[in-house]
């Protein structure tokens, strides 16, 4: 909705005579009016991006989110499941005492206190101000210590030379990678982002949004219906929350 909005706003903002006065009120206005940040603006910690996954809606045997992610980021089958990259996977959880079965997608949980960020010797594994955990493959040396540290087994190592990578998802041999929360989409669309997994989901089980904004759909739903963190005992405060587990 807001591309025109932004542009007209920016024109007024930039062209206005009282630029200084505008600057002082701008932050408040920006939050309410502008949904996507301008391309040249740095991300900030006023937002914390997260996902809400409703496992009750997940279909048995459904793999659509995985296929959608693979397609978006150019992940392919190469040398078999042991070494192929899996940024998102479908996990089946069975309670052995009640036989209750749950299906859920598992990916990088984008922890607030991410163990992978703590252990990375070069700082290649890092958390952006807006809560998205990424690997800077320019400085990743491929030591795999982050893979040892991640409690969600969310990371993959690139075990071979790759070709035909997607322009939006650079990936290469000898580095570690994981779910980026579709950061290329987030930087473009902000609050209106639909991640590739959510886009592919026909069950409407994945919702993206700003956990810091009480007015966002994700925050409203979490407030009303609640949500669970996987391995909450570790105190990592993941940005991915689940319902129905």
């Amino acid at each position: 909705m807001s591309d025109q909005h932004i542009n007209s706003y920016r024109r007024r903002f930039l062209g206005g005579a009282g630029a200084l006065a505008a600057l002082t009120v701008a932050p408040g206005l920006l939050l309410n009016v502008v949904k996507a940040k301008p391309a040249a603006e740095a991300v900030s910690n006023t937002t914390r991006w997260g996902l809400l996954i409703d496992a009750n809606k997940c279909g048995e045997g459904c793999n659509d989110c995985v296929t959608g992610c693979n397609e978006e980021h150019g992940l392919k089958e190469i040398h078999g499941p042991a070494t192929d990259a899996q940024w998102i996977r479908s996990v089946t959880v069975r309670d052995t005492s009640t036989q209750h079965v749950t299906h859920l997608p598992m990916m990088c949980q984008h922890c607030e206190s991410a163990p992978c960020v703590d252990v990375c010797p070069t700082g290649a594994s890092f958390k952006r101000e807006d809560g998205i955990v990424l690997v800077d493959k320019h400085t990743c040396i491929g030591c795999r210590y982050c893979m040892m540290a991640c409690p969600y087994k969310a990371r993959s190592f690139v075990h071979e030379h790759l070709t035909e990578q997607k322009p939006v998802a650079p990936r290469g041999i000898g580095t570690v990678e994981s779910c980026t929360m579709c950061v290329h989409r987030v930087d473009k669309n902000g609050e209106n982002t639909v991640t590739a997994c959510a886009e592919a989901c026909t069950h409407d089980a994945i919702l993206f949004g700003d956990l810091n904004n009480p007015e966002s759909d994700i925050s409203k739903r979490l407030e009303k219906e609640g949500g669970t963190r996987i391995r909450a005992d570790l105190g990592l405060n993941p940005g991915v929350r689940y319902q129905g587990i």
């Binding site: 190469i78 040398h79 499941p81 042991a82 070494t83 192929d84 990259a85 899996q86 996977r89 479908s90 996990v91 089946t92 959880v93 069975r94 309670d95 052995t96 598992m106 163990p115 960020v117 703590d118 252990v119 990375c120 010797p121 070069t122 700082g123 400085t139 990743c140 040396i141 491929g142 030591c143 795999r144 210590y145 893979m147 040892m148 540290a149 991640c150 409690p151 969600y152 087994k153 990371r155 993959s156 190592f157 690139v158 075990h159 071979e160 030379h161 041999i173 000898g174 580095t175 570690v176 996987i230 391995r231 570790l234 587990i245």
Partner: protein, 407 residues
Amino acid sequence: MKIAYRTIEGRSRGYFALFGVLGLFVLAGLGAAHHMESEGHWITGMNNQIVWGMPHVFAVFLIVAASGALNIASISSVFAKTAYKPLARLSGLLSIALLAGGLMILVLDLGRPDRLIVAMTTYNFKSIFAWNIILYNGLFAIVAVYIWMMMEGRFNKYSRTVGMVAFIWRLLLTTGTGSIFGFLVARQGYDAAIMAPMFVVMSFSFGLAIFLLVLMASYSWSERPLGDATVKRLKNLLGVFVAGVLYFVLAYHLTNLYATEHHGYEAFLLLGENGGGIYSNLFWIGQVLLGSLLPLALLYHPVTGKNRVMLGFASVLIILGGLAQMYTIIIGGQAFPMAMFPGMEVSSSFGDGVTASYAPSTWEVMLGVGGFAMSLVIVTAAVKILAFLPEDLSDEIADPHTASKST
């Protein structure tokens, strides 16, 4: 009596043969690494479940042993035991050599070894790995200065101070190495503070076993006298260290056995349940029986304890037992399924809920053995170039006090 140090002649056919054989292993290791890097890691047994494999078993073993090998020098300078003083130079050399071999493996196994400069210039100080890079580089520098202080007569007076720095540094280093595993909250087998002190005691044991072997071999091959008093002192110390490791292993498992949370992992590692057979065998037969109890018997038995061949054999067993221990810690700890949903049965396309399988590839073993050979090549070359080895270590020279008592 003044100890005379002299380089070995190093012109015999045996010397060149040793050099050649070790060199071939080094070349094979480098070739394997090159192959791994140009093809990618898919040709190894390592994968997204077992991310650290055979190279890390060798590398961590050698790095741990490196700090332990320095012990003899520390005992002589820090604790002022003169009987160990003649051995101090070799102790320092072996420490540097083992560390170099271990780091060679670690670096060549990286996904991007070409970016080593990044690791050396960009540090995340919350990472114990980053601290270890500083600790490893520091040990090279400190021990090199230490050896210099010991070798240069004018600087002998500083060797005690530098020795003290080296001793503290090596304790920090092994604490750091153990903490690589101790600091991992995610996995059942790690996340234990005892890892750090356990690795320190493991370093005492592995380092001394290698030291004793190298000492006996170099004196036997260079036909220099090596007195029984020196050997006896070292082998008794080695026995204490082996027992010390067993104590820490016992404390670690007892703690785990008390906590229900860890019962799954203990059954996996100690009883071989849930596909842990290889690890329980390596633990009981490799590490405990052949790597600890048998060497202890050999070291302390009145007959075998006096036989150098048997002492060498015991040392080899301790080294192999140490490698088995590393394997169970590093590979076993990763193979055991992660408790992502405690108490639930989990399955997925990514190996959730099942024990990960690992078959080390030839390339990984070649790289690991190549790193070990690299350490020995360094020692073999260094004792020919610089005066590391005392000319005579017979009891009358090396240990006049004990020698006069026994005669």
